[in-house]
């Protein structure tokens, strides 16, 4: 198919425009973080670094970032374990009820967050009698993070095929040796991509978090939401947002470099 030059230019223009629309609001956040005025009016009234200085010494924001990092790390580790096991089972075996299991993994992410949130908090507090807190939050996050790892592992296993593993078994390696020396090294970048997505997903989640965390645990999104409408705090929220955007560049770049197939790192981007 030869695409005419006009079509190419048109498509490039549309893509450029979409990118501009995608980044303009983010740029606005950066501008607002230096704006002297706290009102949302344009154009900005003046330049100040006051919000940056205040954010640098804001203990609430710092604690929230640390809480979010810990929660996201724990949820990611759980999701990596469960997602890998599930990916191996689903890709290497066929069994009764496979489609149901597939649906089951997708459901926590496909159903609206408020449904997942209210269902989990109800189950934790009224059925199981567990106090809502750090533990319930990690469990809830891990539940909807499994799918990102699962999808990445499954796609990689499908591409790998079973030849190398069979060769390893023929050469006398036991199952564990084969997994450790043959399967796992090939899965490594898929696990990294899936893990990063799981981490990002957990780090940014607010709706399930509101229901599953209870009052004692303040993750960064919870902190942002409570400070969004507080006078004097909104500009500090902007600063925190800018820092988060900048910090996130590194892991994305890494994930891209490590996955040779660019389409793979976009699986289950959720």
């Amino acid at each position: 198919m030869t695409i005419s030059r006009t079509t190419r230019r048109l498509l490039a223009a549309v893509t450029g425009l979409v990118l501009a629309v995608l980044y303009a609001p983010l740029a606005l956040v950066v501008v607002n973080s230096f704006n002297t005025s706290q009102a949302l009016t344009w154009p900005p009234s003046g330049f100040t670094t006051e919000w940056w200085q205040r954010a640098a010494v804001n203990p609430g924001a710092h604690d929230a970032i640390i809480t979010s990092l810990i929660v996201a790390s724990c949820a990611t580790v759980m999701a990596l374990l469960l997602g890998t096991l599930l990916g191996l089972a689903m890709q290497r075996y066929s069994f009764f009820g496979k489609n149901t299991v597939n649906l089951l993994v997708i459901l926590p992410i496909a159903l609206p967050g408020i449904v997942t949130g209210i269902a989990l908090s109800n189950a934790f507090s009224s059925i199981l009698g567990i106090r809502l807190g750090f533990f319930t939050l990690v469990v809830a996050h891990a539940t909807f993070c499994i799918v990102t790892v699962f999808n990445n592992v499954q796609a990689r296993l499908r591409r790998m095929g079973g030849n190398l593993e069979e060769a390893s078994a023929d050469l006398g390696a036991g199952m564990w040796t084969t997994f450790r020396l043959v399967t796992l090294p090939q899965l490594r970048s898929a696990l990294l991509a899936g893990g990063l997505l799981a981490f990002a997903l957990s780090f940014d989640e607010i709706i399930v978090t509101t229901f599953a965390a209870g009052p004692g645990v303040t993750t960064l999104p919870v902190w942002i939401l409570t400070n969004l409408f507080r006078p004097g705090q909104a500009p500090i929220v902007n600063v925190v947002a800018v820092v988060m955007i900048v910090v996130s560049v590194a892991p994305i770049w890494l994930a891209q470099r490590l996955s040779s197939d660019p389409s793979e790192s976009t699986r289950a981007i959720h």
Binding site: V14, N122, D204, V249, R267
Partner: protein, 286 residues
Amino acid sequence: MTLSSISSTLSRRPGIRLGLLLAAPLTWLVLVYVVALAALLVTAFWTIDSFTNELERTFTLDNVREITSEALYRTVTLRTLGVALLVTLIDCAIALPVGFYMAKVASRRSRHLLVIAFLMPLWASYLVKALAWRSLLSNGGLLDWAGGLVGLGTPGFGVTAIVLTQAYIWLPYVILPVYAAYERVPDSLLDAAGDLGARPARTFRTVVLPLVVPGLVAGSIFSFSLTMGDYITVNIVGGANQMLGNLVYINSGSNLPLAAAIALIPIAVIMIYLALVRRTGALENL
């Protein structure tokens, strides 16, 4: 039993192997998620005592009756469905040309950069994006200012603002699976169609598009379902308008059975949607 004898037993028994692999994740998903969903379903048919606010565990259809008879729920359900469909349509309409450009027109080098460019906004906090749109759309905000130059104003906070903001927030979730689907279409197919005399438009319609549909549907599951359940963006840019998520949220503290019953609406809608799209193979493309 030594490690090697366990290993050799396992290699002779694929059933046990499968059982060991599935045990942990399935226990987790069933114990945590299926039980929780089932409990929510049951709660929808309970009620609370209007005097003591205590949960009454007796079966009743009162909540379902209230939801089906009161106009408020019908209005909000229709509004939520409308917004979710509109957001999904907008995002699909943008993702189709952009994904095509990324996968099939752009050079290899710029393709990598484009993927990164579309991945990055995913990492910017969801709340921050909603906040950015609040600032964009506010009276005297950037849109008002820019619109004023050409004689237009901001749409203000309301349903239009909800649609714009949601379409913006979920766009990368649609573009990336669509791009991945385009990427999997072999170039040789396009060449073959061209060699057989099909014009680009026809090649796109009859060869490329059917292959991209699973990716498009996978993306639409995200945009549709995420919009269906959202209430926070609605609070930030929606003015006084409510969506189903708001009604669930408001009732979740005071009347859990009613909240659960309202939540059945999005659950039913999403389940129908998933059942409809299952045959396209979209669920494997998430």
